[in-house]
């Protein structure tokens, strides 16, 4: 039975056809988020929006005189448990000519905690690196 397949005991719940709407609630993420570190050299601002049943993220990097607009990408949302619809985290990816940036965000005490995994593709010798930042509304 498909629903019984699992690789962790807690995933074994059989929830198929139980009539419960398990659309994950994305409301906790929607809005404009500002980096708690005013002088950040990374992402300064995130705009998270919800339309047509999908979640979108638009990131703005530090630069002058204007912020660097990374554009909007679709995000993928995750609940906090296999039997829950409470939005707990989302992921998104930016892929440019020189760098791939994987975003992983989760909520903690009203803050959005953003972990970015930065992978260079340009042969520049720069180390792939992670960055952890905190955002408030």
């Amino acid at each position: 039975m498909e629903s019984r397949k699992y690789f962790r005991a807690g995933d074994g719940a059989d929830l198929a056809n139980d009539g419960v709407d398990r659309t994950i609630d994305v409301a906790p993420f929607v809005g404009t988020w500002i980096n708690t570190m005013r002088e950040t050299k990374g992402f300064v601002k995130l705009i998270v929006s919800h339309r047509d049943g999908k979640l979108f993220v638009q990131a703005f990097g530090a630069s002058a005189p204007e912020l660097c607009d990374w554009g909007e990408v679709e995000a993928y949302v995750f609940a906090d448990r296999v039997d829950s619809r409470k939005g707990a985290a989302f992921s998104a990816n930016y892929d440019t000519e020189s760098i791939e940036v994987a975003l992983q965000a989760n909520m903690n005490l009203g803050l959005l905690v953003l972990l970015t995994f930065n992978r260079f593709k340009d042969g520049s010798g720069r180390s792939n690196y992670i960055c952890r930042e905190f955002f408030h509304r």
């Binding site: 629903s3 962790r8 638009q58 760098i99 792939n128």
Partner: protein, 151 residues
Amino acid sequence: MKGAQKMTFRDFTSVLDYRSSKAANGGPSHVDPSPFAGTWVNTNDAAPHRIAKLVMKIRDGVLMVHVWGFCDPELCDWGEVPAEVYADSINTQTAMSFTAMFDFGFMETRLQTNLKRGTMVIATANKFSDLSGRSDYYTREFFYQIDDDGF
């Protein structure tokens, strides 16, 4: 991707990335994965969704990650996959993080980790594809390193 095209730093997460690109030597990124090598166990042995244990080895310079999920009566063996390692900045070469993907057919689990004061923090993003009604979900767990024969 839409948005302004005029920015100098479009292909860089930050100003720092851009400046460092001018100073870096050429060639592929090389980050030393050795801080992760060994056996790691979960700090919380009560969580039903937990990853119980990881054994990590370096093979031909690549970090290989072997995971066991908690199942009863025996742990569930996820198998071994290669990982991608990350430093904590552009200019350092010691791994502070790795990502790895497990594809079980009916679900995908992506591991995203970082080291913090000797503890390894693992976030998992779990996507189901089997129409079982289970929600895609996210976990965050903590691990400590033990001697290889200590589990």
